[in-house]
């Protein structure tokens, strides 16, 4: 939460300074200065869009300049050859880059970042070559001159100042849009997707769609920027498709702050105006960009805005002992009171957060004949087991016996090679991880998979409704929604006994506590089935007993639990039944006492007794 407080602290002075500049300086500025500031606005829009893919989604796209170039070409050609005005052409000049991004994204966006970077680079090269070769349409290497100025509703906007105001009005609108998208719950969903994609999918976030949305948004902003650029400059040239545009955009994003809306704008103004402020740089501005880029990457990893926030944060933290600790009780009191009064806070209609519909002792998860092979190793061999609603199934077995692989198969990370995985009568084998999560399957990981930079509270909050969150609903929900979601997340943290750690960054939590936070996050998805991978590791005996009681309570609410554990004193009293795996096969199943004393289990753990 501190970052939002601090962010407001940066954005406000910036906005005031911008207004003062607009009122006092602009009316007396030269045409040339106005033109430079207009170009800075164009780059601000370009970088705002780049923030979605490069910042929020964390994918290094090298095609942002290309999308801007395509927007410029479409708008320029339509204006000069077909007499279509700037605003009338916008659906096409924004739409075509988005369409190009969509075409590119389908195959390329799922690739790892270094492949994605190469793919976007090649696309840029192809588009540039086509633009310079296809002379009859694009004017080839010379481009096209005489692009008419910007216009709105049939009125040409003459003069530098009105053009500048139009561009910067669009920057303001774009900034508000970007701000609403990333400052709500979607911002947390992006953070988890960026930092821990597997965990994001495990709580039902469709990471592929999220990245796609980011890529399309970035292309749309770039198309608008290109369209504005070509009309503001009046000339269409292949330079707009060149790599220096991309370099400038990247420099702006890195220098400003890739994760901040204010960063895109501040970065654009600083980088585009820099050659004007330092006249001696005029011929070597790219050299200066290179040095600045290197310097900022090395010395100010968060860029100017995040660095400013941190400085403000220090000031703030001295004034108010702890921003976070001070605010939690005020926001979350209602939820706490409700719980104390014995009524659970209503989360969604009907099904509460930890109250799955009690379906008696119905079979919830059924595996039949499940096998999974890795190369020559049969990691799961004809496995059959059942988890019942409201009951705890303990899964034991020596290291390498296939316990975690079983979890990965159930949650869709690996498909099973053979066999059926049924959840409440529905076959879920072969579905995507996020789709399985949305059917009510939640899990934790052997090493807690939390977004290290987010607080424990935000790590839980992200799972509240993140699954069903689209860009549209995020826009409507905005930040107000975040407070509600955090209230719910706080209740869940307290249910797991980790409420005291709500404000701590997840990366600094002790391993045992991180596991509790992870369980709280799993509960936040309102699961029917909860899969826990060694939840007691890293806890002392008192904490283990406490966790056991809390897990029992979750089961009593009707959730089916599958618990992998080596720690028998923890698992035996907790589990209703136990299954033992060895070399991918089920070798024993029954009550904990029976499985524990089964000679095959003892043999699997201790080896064959000497003859």
């Amino acid at each position: 939460m501190r970052r939002w407080v601090a962010h407001g602290g940066v954005a406000l002075p910036l906005a005031v300074a911008a207004c003062a500049y607009g009122v006092f300086v602009l009316p007396h500025a030269s045409d040339y200065a106005l033109r430079v500031l207009t170009v800075a606005g164009v780059y601000a829009l370009l970088a705002l869009g780049y923030g979605f893919i490069f910042g929020q989604a964390g994918a290094l796209s090298l095609a942002q300049g290309t999308f801007m170039g395509v927007g410029a070409y479409v708008s320029g050609i339509l204006a000069v050859r077909y007499g279509v005005a700037f605003d009338a052409a916008l659906p096409v000049s924004v739409g075509l880059p988005v369409l190009l991004a969509l075409l590119v994204a389908i195959p390329v966006l799922r690739l790892q970042t270094h492949y994605f970077a190469l793919a976007t680079l090649l696309i840029g090269q192809v588009v540039l070559l086509v633009a310079t070769q296809w002379e009859s349409v694009t004017g080839g290497a010379n481009g096209i001159g005489g692009v008419p100025p910007l216009s709105l509703l049939g009125h040409p906007i003459e003069g530098r100042l009105p053009q500048l105001l139009l561009v910067w009005a669009l920057v303001a609108a774009g900034a508000v849009l970007a701000w609403r998208i990333v400052s709500g719950r979607l911002g947390d969903a992006f953070a988890l997707t960026r930092l821990h994609p597997v965990a994001a999918r495990a709580i039902g976030i469709d990471t592929g769609s999220l990245r796609l949305a980011a890529f399309l948004l970035s292309a749309g902003f770039a198309g608008l920027a290109g369209s504005l650029y070509v009309h503001a400059i009046g000339v269409l040239s292949p330079d707009v498709l060149g790599f220096p545009v991309m370099i400038t955009c990247l420099t702006i994003a890195v220098v400003g702050s890739r994760l901040r809306v204010a960063g895109a704008i501040a970065g654009a103004v600083v980088i585009i105006e820099l050659p004007e402020w330092a006249r001696f740089l005029r011929d070597d501005y790219l050299l200066a960009f290179g040095c600045i880029l290197l310097l900022v990457v090395v010395a100010l990893p968060g860029g100017l805005v995040e660095t400013a926030e941190r400085l403000l944060g220090w000031v703030g933290s001295r004034a108010v002992p702890s921003v976070m600790a001070g605010r939690v009780p005020a926001i979350f009191a209602p939820a706490d009171e409700a719980r104390m009064a014995g009524t659970r806070p209503a989360m969604t209609e009907g099904v509460g957060p930890f109250i799955a519909a009690r379906a008696g002792d119905a079979d919830l998860l059924t595996l039949v004949g499940v096998s999974r092979r890795f190369g020559g190793v049969l990691a799961l061999d004809d496995v059959a087991l059942t988890v019942r609603s409201g009951a705890v199934l303990g899964l034991i077995g020596p290291n390498g016996s296939g316990k975690t692989t079983l979890l990965n198969v159930v949650t869709g990370i690996f498909p099973a090679d053979a066999g059926r995985v049924r959840l409440g009568g529905r076959d879920i084998a072969g579905r995507a991880p996020h789709a399985i999560a949305r059917l009510g399957v939640a899990r934790t990981f052997q090493t807690a998979a939390l977004a290290a930079e987010l607080s424990a509270l935000d790590n839980v909050a992200v799972a509240r409704g993140a699954a069903r969150l689209g860009v549209g609903s995020a826009l409507r929900a905005g930040r107000r929604d975040r407070a509600v979601v955090r209230g719910e997340a706080m209740a869940l943290l307290e249910r797991m006994g980790a409420g005291a750690y709500a404000a701590e960054a997840a990366g600094t939590l002790p391993p045992g506590i991180a596991r509790l936070v992870e369980i709280a996050r799993a509960l936040a998805t309102e699961p029917r089935l909860l899969l826990l991978d060694e939840p007691a590791a890293g806890l002392n005996e008192t904490e283990q007993a406490d966790l056991g009681r809390r897990l029992r309570g979750i089961a009593e609410d009707g959730v089916g639990l599958l618990v992998i554990e080596h720690n028998m004193p923890f698992l035996v009293p907790l589990a209703d039944r136990m299954v033992c795996l060895d070399q991918g096969r089920v070798i024993a199943e029954g009550t904990p006492a029976a499985v524990q004393s089964d000679p095959r289990v003892i043999e699997a753990y201790l080896g064959t007794p000497p003859p």
Partner: protein, 306 residues
């Protein structure tokens, strides 16, 4: 004998590309990061050779050792500026810092040498040789010889010296290497030195035929990047194979009408087999490879356990 002649050209071009790609993949393995400045190091090597030739008036082969040494120093400087401060940060940070290094190299070259294309001296001399009925330029044959020598030296370095074994250990598992007392930072600086020297040699070899300008690096960078992708990310042999494949495509594609005269009857065959179309076809082919076989043409799909 046209085909044999083309093959010599393919080998010469491919061997030079292989040097660039090897440098790229060595840094990739040592740091886990893409060195986006690898192409600009080729350009720097080209200008370095021009500079040395102006002073010393000797053939390319004689100034090669001095060039390798100078480029190794530049490689260490790049490591100190763009890698060392970022070694605890995610690999994209190095990707971006090396983009910055590339921009700096380009613009410094532009300041020092101007934008006009210049040629490096030939390795031995101009002229052509004939052997076994094949007519080839001396330069092409010399490129193949020098590149083969450098690759053999690299192979020996990696397999027969303690330094090379330490480099490989560092590339394989940095933390483990550190745990057994290998000075990892020095090894990585050494890797940058080797990679830059290889790029510099490629700059000398290539810029005699293709000239060098401050902006000629980006093409080489893209080719090294492509070679490493289609050869299998991180595979050293794959990088060499990928480089040869790219060279084969670049030499053979524009010569297709020569080899298959029937193609000349295609409408606008001039445009279809131009250098530009060749680049477009190559780019699109690589995009398709990325879609169909992201593990590369030769690589085995690596499975990661989450």
């Amino acid at each position: 004998m046209a085909i044999a002649q083309l093959l010599v050209e393919v080998l010469a071009l491919g061997a030079a590309y292989a040097l660039v790609a090897l440098g790229f993949v060595l840094i990739l393995n040592a740091t886990g990061a893409v060195n986006f400045a690898q192409g600009d190091l080729v350009m720097a090597g080209g200008f370095g050779a021009v500079l040395l030739a102006d002073r010393l008036h000797v053939s390319g082969l004689v100034l090669l050792p001095a060039l390798l040494a100078g480029m190794a120093v530049l490689g260490v400087v790049v490591a100190l500026a763009a890698y060392m401060p970022l070694r605890r940060r995610p690999p994209e940070a190095v990707f971006i810092s090396t983009i910055a290094v590339g921009i700096i190299l380009q613009n410094v070259a532009n300041r020092l040498f101007g934008a006009e294309p210049v040629a490096t001296p030939p390795l031995f001399g101009a002229g052509r040789v004939r052997f076994a009925g094949v007519d080839a330029s001396v330069q092409s044959v010399a490129i193949i010889g020098v590149a083969a020598l450098l690759i053999a030296a690299l192979y020996t370095l990696f397999t027969h010296t303690q330094f090379g074994r330490r480099l490989r250990a560092t590339a394989y598992d940095r933390d483990m290497a550190m745990a057994i007392g290998i000075p990892v930072d020095r090894m990585i600086a050494g890797t940058f030195a080797v990679a830059a020297a290889l790029a510099g040699a490629a700059g000398l070899l290539l810029s005699n035929t293709f000239f060098v300008t401050p902006s000629s690096g980006s093409d080489y960078m893209i080719k090294a990047y492509i070679a490493v992708v289609i050869g299998g990310w991180g595979s050293i042999r794959g990088a060499v194979a990928g480089a040869l494949l790219i060279a084969a495509f670049e030499v053979l594609y524009p010569s297709l009408p020569l080899l298959v005269p029937a193609l000349l009857w295609m409408p606008s065959s001039d445009a279809v087999f131009s250098q530009t179309t060749s680049t477009i076809v190559l780019d699109v082919a690589v995009l398709l490879i990325l879609v169909v076989r992201p593990q590369g043409l030769f690589g085995e799909a690596a499975r990661q356990r989450p």
